[in-house]
C-alpha cells in the first residue's frame, strides 16, 4: 500500500493550470524523485502536500487516510526558497522552528544537542545567523527540517547552493534517514542525484504526470536494447554475427575496437555474446542503459512534439 498518495490533484491559477489531474503514489521507505523541468508544477504539488496551499480538486491520502492539518508535524520540508532570520541566534532560532513543528522545548533542546554535536557545530549556538557562511546556514536548515523525526521528508532542490562536501553529507544523511524508516520526496532537475539515491520517480511536465515507477522499471522500459562490445582484433565473420543487429557506432580507442549495436528484434544478449566469443577475444560486453537524464530529455522533448 502506498504511504502517501495524491489522487487527481488539480490546481488552477488565474491564467494557467498548475496541476492537471496529478496522481502519484509514494511507497513507504522509498526515496521518491519528483522530476520535471522548471515551471512544470513540482513546487505547486509540494506546497499542496505541505498544506501550504489547497488543491482545487483531488484527494491526498497519508498512510491510507485523508491528510489532516495536524499532519504537518509528521512532515519535514526543506523548500527551494529557504532561509533563516538573520538577526536571530542559531540556537534560539532552531528551537523556535522546532517548537512550531510541535516539539516541546525540552525535546527540541535534546535533539538539537545531538545533531549539533554530530555535525560538530556546537560553537555556533550563540552566533547570529548573519555571522554564518551560506554552507553553515544550510546545515542548520537541514537539522531543523529533520529534527522532529518526520515520517515524510520533502526536499525541494536540496543540492542547489550546497558545496560538494555539504551535498555529500546531506546525501548520506538522507540515506540514513530512509534506513531509519522515513520516506523521502525529492524534487529536482539534477538527474545525477536521482540516479544515485532515488528508488522511485515520477516525471511531471506541463502540469501533468507523464511517467511514474521505480527507477529500475523505468530504465528497463525505456531501454533501447543497445549493447556495447569491446574486443582486441577485427571481428571475424562480422557480417554474419551482426546480421540481425543495427550498428550504432564503431570506433577504436586505446588499441581496442568498440562497437555499439542495437538489437531491434530483442534477440537478447546471450546469443550475441555466444556468437562473438566463438571466434573472437571479447574484452567487455555491456548493455547500454539510458541514463535518467536521457529518459528525462526524451520524454520532455517527446511531449513537446505532441
Amino acid at each position: 500500500m502506498a504511504f502517501f498518495e495524491t489522487i487527481n490533484i488539480e490546481k488552477n491559477y488565474a491564467n494557467h493550470k498548475a496541476l492537471d489531474k496529478v496522481s502519484i503514489s509514494i511507497p513507504e521507505g522509498s526515496i521518491y524523485g519528483l522530476l520535471g523541468p522548471n515551471g512544470a508544477g513540482k513546487t505547486s504539488l509540494i506546497r499542496i502536500i505541505n498544506q501550504i496551499t489547497a488543491p482545487d480538486a483531488g484527494k491526498i491520502l497519508f498512510n491510507g487516510r485523508e491528510l489532516r492539518p495536524e499532519d504537518v508535524n509528521n512532515i519535514g520540508y526543506l523548500p527551494e526558497e529557504r532561509g533563516l532570520y538573520k538577526k536571530m541566534k542559531v540556537g534560539e532560532q532552531a528551537i523556535y522552528l522546532a517548537t512550531l513543528k510541535g516539539l516541546s522545548k525540552r525535546d527540541a533542546l535534546k535533539k538539537l544537542k545531538y545533531w549539533f554535536e554530530k555535525f560538530s557545530i556546537e560553537e555556533w549556538w550563540d552566533k547570529k545567523v548573519e555571522e554564518l557562511s551560506k554552507g553553515m546556514a544550510q546545515k542548520v536548515q537541514f537539522i531543523v527540517t529533520i529534527l522532529h523525526d518526520p515520517k515524510l521528508l520533502i526536499f525541494d532542490e536540496p543540492f542547489s547552493g550546497f558545496d560538494p562536501i555539504n551535498a555529500n553529507l546531506l546525501k548520506e544523511e538522507i540515506l540514513s534517514l530512509r534506513d531509519n524508516g522515513s520516506t523521502v520526496i525529492f524534487s529536482t532537475h539534477n538527474m545525477s542525484s536521482v540516479e544515485e539515491i532515488c528508488t522511485d520517480i515520477s516525471l511531471i511536465n506541463k502540469s501533468k504526470k507523464i511517467v511514474e515507477g521505480t527507477v529500475f522499471d523505468i530504465r528497463e522500459k525505456y531501454s533501447t536494447n543497445t549493447f556495447e562490445l569491446i574486443y582486441k582484433d577485427e571481428l571475424s565473420n562480422k557480417n554474419d554475427i551482426l546480421s540481425n543487429y543495427e550498428i550504432v557506432r564503431e570506433y577504436s580507442e586505446n588499441g581496442n575496437n568498440i562497437l555499439e549495436v542495437k538489437d531491434p528484434k530483442a534477440i537478447g544478449a546471450n546469443t550475441l555474446i555466444g556468437n562473438v566469443i566463438a571466434n573472437n577475444l571479447l574484452i567487455s560486453f555491456k548493455e547500454i542503459i539510458p541514463s535518467m537524464n536521457d529518459i528525462f530529455i526524451q520524454l520532455v522533448e517527446g511531449s513537446k512534439n505532441n
Binding site: 488565474a14 506546497r47 505541505n50 498544506q51 501550504i52 496551499t53 489547497a54 488543491p55 482545487d56 492539518p69 504537518v72 508535524n73 512532515i75 520540508y77 526543506l78 523548500p79 526558497e81 529557504r82 532561509g83 533563516l84 532570520y85 538573520k86 538577526k87 536571530m88 523556535y96 522552528l97 517548537t99 512550531l100 513543528k101 510541535g102 536548515q141 531543523v144 527540517t145
Partner: protein, 446 residues
C-alpha cells in the same frame, strides 16, 4: 503550546529585548522631563552678561534708555551713525543704538551690532523707548485736555473677564470646574500618540513581513503553521510590544508627576484641591503663590482620576482597534512586495488617510461639535484619532458604542481580506504587483 502563541512570543521577545526598545521606552519619559526642566530653567535664568551700548540720540527725547545692572548705555552725541557705527563697535561697544531725529513720525530706531542681539535685550530697548515716547504723548494730551487724572481714569476702563467653564458631571449631578484648554491638550496628546503608535508599529509589522519574505524563511514557517496564524501572531506580538511600551510610559509619567509634585509643592493635598478647597488659605499655609495654586487646582479638578481612567481605557481600545485595522493592511502590503522600496505605491494612500485623520483631529480640537467631528469619529479609518480628541469634551454613549462597533467590525473584515492577500503574496517572488493583481488574490478560493 498553541503555535500562534509561539509566534506571538517570538515577535514580542525579539523586539522587547532590542536595545533600541529599552532605551526608547525608559529614556523618553526622562528626556521629556529633562527637556521641560531645561526650558523652565532657561526661562527663569536672567541675563547676567555685562554689555556696554553706545547710544546716538538725535531726537529731542531726554535719556530714552536707562542703564540697568548689567547693561550700560553711554550717550555719544553729535556723531554720524552711518559713518561712525563700525568705529564705535571697534572701541569695545557691544552694540550701537541709533535713535533718529524724526522718530516721532518714523516709529523706528536701529540697534547695530556684529553679534546677534538677544531677544530680551531687544525687547527691553524697544519697550523703554516706546514707553518714553508714549509718556511724552500722554503728558501733552493731559496738558491739552486739562484732565490731570487721565491715566487713572483710562486704567479703570481696562476689562478682563475670567470665564469659568463648568461641566455637569453626569454621575454626581454636580457641576465641576473644568478647563477647555486642558481638555483640548489632553485630547490632542491622546490623538497624536495614537497616530504615532499606529504609524510606528504598523510599519514594524510591514517590515517584519518583508524580512520574512526576503529572508526566504517564510515557506519553512508556513509548512508548520497556517499563513493566517503567522500574520496574526506577528500583528498581536507587535501590538503587545506597543502596549508594554505605552504602559511603562504611563507608569513612569505618573511616577515623575508624583515626585515632581512632592518636590515642588510638598504641602498640597491634591484631593482637597479637587474638592474645591479655600485657595487663599492654602496659599498662606504652603507658601505658594496663589496664581500658581489656581492653575494646579484647575488641572486637578479637570483631570480627576476617574476621568483619566476612562480616558485611558478609551485610549487602549482605540489604539488596539486602530492598530489592528491598519496593521492587517500593512501586513498585506509587506506580503505583496519583494522589498521596502516597492511599498511606496501601496503605502501612500494609507499614509494620506492617516494624515487626514490627524488634521481632522486638530480641527475637532478647536470645535468638537461639528458634523465633521461626528462622521470622522464614526468612520473607522479616522475614528481612533478623532474620537480620542473628542472624548474629553464628552461624547454621547450611543455615538461611542456605534464608533466602537464599527471599528471592531471593520478590523475583523479587513484582517480577513488582508489574510487572503498575505497568504498568496508571501510565496510570490519577483512579480511586480498591481492593485488589479491584489484584487485577483482576494477573489481566489484557497
Amino acid at each position: 503550546m498553541n503555535k500562534i502563541l509561539i509566534i506571538i512570543k517570538r515577535e514580542f521577545l525579539t523586539r522587547v529585548k532590542k536595545k533600541t526598545f529599552i532605551v526608547l521606552t525608559i529614556a523618553v519619559p526622562f528626556l521629556f522631563a529633562a527637556f521641560y526642566a531645561f526650558l523652565m530653567w532657561m526661562m527663569l535664568k536672567s541675563d547676567t552678561e555685562e554689555r556696554k551700548i553706545a547710544v546716538i540720540n538725535q531726537s529731542q527725547i531726554e535719556a530714552p534708555v536707562k542703564s540697568t545692572e548689567y547693561t550700560t548705555y553711554e550717550y555719544v552725541n553729535e556723531v554720524d551713525f552711518a559713518s561712525e557705527k563700525n568705529n564705535l563697535l571697534k572701541k569695545g561697544y557691544y552694540a550701537v543704538l541709533h535713535i533718529p531725529k524724526n522718530i516721532w513720525q518714523l516709529n523706528k530706531a536701529e540697534l547695530f551690532s556684529d553679534k546677534q542681539v538677544p531677544m530680551d535685550l531687544k525687547s527691553f530697548v524697544r519697550n523703554q523707548i516706546s514707553d518714553k515716547i508714549e509718556r511724552i504723548k500722554r503728558d501733552s494730551v493731559i496738558a491739552e485736555t486739562g484732565i490731570s487724572d487721565l491715566d487713572a481714569r483710562l486704567a479703570a476702563t481696562k476689562t478682563n473677564i475670567q470665564l469659568k467653564t463648568l461641566k455637569l458631571d453626569e454621575g454626581s449631578g454636580k457641576a465641576k470646574e473644568t478647563s477647555s484648554e486642558i481638555l483640548s491638550i489632553l485630547g490632542m496628546v491622546g490623538g497624536m500618540i495614537i497616530y504615532i503608535f499606529i504609524l510606528m508599529y504598523c510599519t514594524q509589522v510591514m517590515r517584519g513581513v518583508i524580512e520574512e519574505k526576503s529572508n526566504r524563511i517564510v515557506e519553512v514557517i508556513v509548512s508548520s503553521v497556517k499563513p493566517f496564524q503567522l500574520m496574526m501572531g506577528k500583528i498581536v506580538g507587535i501590538a503587545l510590544v506597543g502596549l508594554v511600551q505605552f504602559l511603562i510610559w504611563i507608569a513612569l509619567i505618573v511616577l515623575l508627576v508624583i515626585v515632581g509634585q512632592m518636590i515642588m509643592m510638598p504641602n498640597i493635598d491634591m484631593e482637597t484641591l479637587r474638592q474645591g478647597a479655600d485657595l487663599a488659605q492654602m496659599a498662606n499655609t504652603s507658601n505658594i503663590d496663589i496664581d500658581q495654586l489656581k492653575v494646579v487646582s484647575n488641572i486637578a479638578q479637570t483631570l480627576d482620576p476617574a476621568f483619566l481612567t476612562t480616558y485611558l481605557l478609551a485610549f487602549l481600545f482605540y489604539f488596539i482597534g486602530g492598530y489592528l485595522l491598519y496593521a492587517a493592511l500593512f501586513a498585506a502590503i509587506g506580503a505583496a512586495v519583494d522589498n521596502e522600496t516597492e511599498t511606496q505605491q501601496f503605502m501612500t494612500p494609507l499614509m494620506i488617510v492617516l494624515a487626514v485623520a490627524f488634521y481632522m483631529g486638530l480641527g475637532v480640537m478647536r470645535n468638537p461639535e461639528t458634523s465633521m467631528a461626528f462622521w470622522a469619529s464614526i468612520i473607522p479609518f479616522t475614528s481612533p484619532i478623532v474620537m480620542l480628541v473628542r472624548i474629553p469634551f464628552g461624547v454621547p454613549a450611543s455615538e461611542l458604542i456605534a464608533s466602537i462597533a464599527i471599528l471592531t467590525g471593520s478590523f475583523i473584515s479587513l484582517t480577513w481580506l488582508s489574510g487572503k492577500i498575505y497568504r498568496i503574496g508571501i510565496l510570490m517572488y519577483g512579480k511586480k504587483v498591481t492593485y488589479k493583481e491584489l484584487w485577483k488574490w482576494i477573489r481566489y478560493k484557497h
